[in-house]
């Protein structure tokens, strides 16, 4: 979701800019460290940056709702490179969209970065980590993380709008009204994003499990992926 230029009062626009700036600063610090220590991080960031840009700009028609909506892509990025690096990718994507694609706006950039880049990334990352600790498989954990990450973006956007526009009404009731407007289109897309994200993480685990270990997505090698990676079972015998 891109909150359009001019929709937020100055007070809230500045507040969301401040909150987002803190998280993006943490992301820049992480970036400096990871570029020096993690192999393949530059290629992964290039791939994910372009992917987040295009995924969050892709209007997919949802027949049930009769409207078009776009997925977010940030939960996938957060699972692979962490929530704060993911927020940098989202900031770059949202800035380009606001400048050249008439999506979002410069005054609402802070709010859009907070909802899509930070909340979506954090929820996706934490759900993925939590489910992995509970023993969930990679695909399942990534899928549920993407589903909840996607919905959390829209919950955050609804809250941002409600805080700015609730007037005399309770914030929660306005938030709920915005969520009800989002859900018919965004619910099916959240499911679609879950399927795609789960599939991509599983694919990477089969093709290049070492990359997932470099990035800290998985700790232990999975026997099935080693067989697929080398074509035999001798990878870890030293």
């Amino acid at each position: 979701m891109h909150i359009t230029e001019g929709m937020l009062p100055v007070k809230w626009a500045v507040t969301w800019y401040g909150v987002s700036a803190l998280c993006v600063a943490k992301g820049l610090r992480d970036l400096n460290i990871k570029v020096k220590t993690v192999p393949a991080i530059k290629q992964m960031l290039g791939l994910l940056g372009a992917a987040v840009f295009i995924i969050s700009l892709l209007p997919i028609p949802v027949p049930i709702a009769g409207t078009s909506a776009h997925p977010t892509g940030t939960p996938l990025a957060a699972i692979l490179v962490g929530p704060f690096l993911s927020s940098i990718l989202a900031t770059v994507a949202l800035l380009l969209q606001a400048l050249f694609f008439a999506h979002g706006g410069l005054t609402t950039l802070g709010a859009n970065v907070l909802s899509e880049g930070i909340v979506g990334s954090l929820v996706g990352y934490l759900v993925f980590r939590g489910l992995r600790r509970l023993g969930a498989g990679l695909g399942l954990a990534a899928g549920i993380a993407a589903l909840l990450g996607n919905l959390s973006v829209y919950m955050a956007t609804a809250t941002e709008l409600a805080l700015a526009l609730h007037g005399n009404q309770p914030v929660w009731s306005i938030t709920w009204k915005f969520m009800l407007a989002f859900l018919p289109a965004q619910g099916p897309l959240a499911v679609l994003e879950a399927l795609v994200t789960g599939g991509i993480i599983r694919y990477i685990n089969i093709q290049r499990p070492d990359i997932l270990r470099h990035l800290g997505v998985v700790n232990e090698p999975s026997p099935s992926s080693d067989v697929n990676f080398r074509g035999d079972n001798n990878v870890y015998r030293g």
Binding site: Q43, G46, I64, G105, A136, L161
Partner: protein
């Protein structure tokens, strides 16, 4: 527990994927017949916000939503992003001939579990 859930979810994923693939093209025609415009959710929310809170959207700083200009920018942006994804995908996942290593990103020091890269 998770194995059973995963098994069920795999089946659900197949059903949902097929449903989506069928529903999206099938939905285009009834949608067109009823005069729906496939308006973006952003626009729907913008109208709702205007009704509820009186917020008024302003045109963007660089208003590219003029004629075919936005279509041109979407095409260029999509192409550029596609190239970047493709090049980096190739660097990460293309393997050297007869080797497990990527041509550009070698499997550095990962011969043993727990070993430092």
């Amino acid at each position: 527990m998770f194995t059973e859930v995963e098994h069920l979810l795999k089946k659900a994923a197949i059903v949902l994927t097929i449903s989506f693939l069928v529903l999206i093209p099938a939905g285009v025609f009834p949608g067109a017949a009823h005069g729906q415009k496939w308006q973006g959710t952003d626009k729907v929310i913008e109208e709702l916000a205007s009704k509820m809170g009186g917020a008024k959207a302003r045109p963007p700083l660089l208003n590219t939503d003029q004629g075919d200009l936005l279509l041109f920018l979407f095409a260029v942006g999509g192409f550029a992003a596609g190239v970047i994804v493709g090049v980096n995908w190739d660097r990460l996942f293309r393997r050297k001939e007869g080797s497990c290593e990527s041509a550009d990103v070698p499997d550095q020091g990962l011969a043993k579990p727990g070993q430092q890269a």
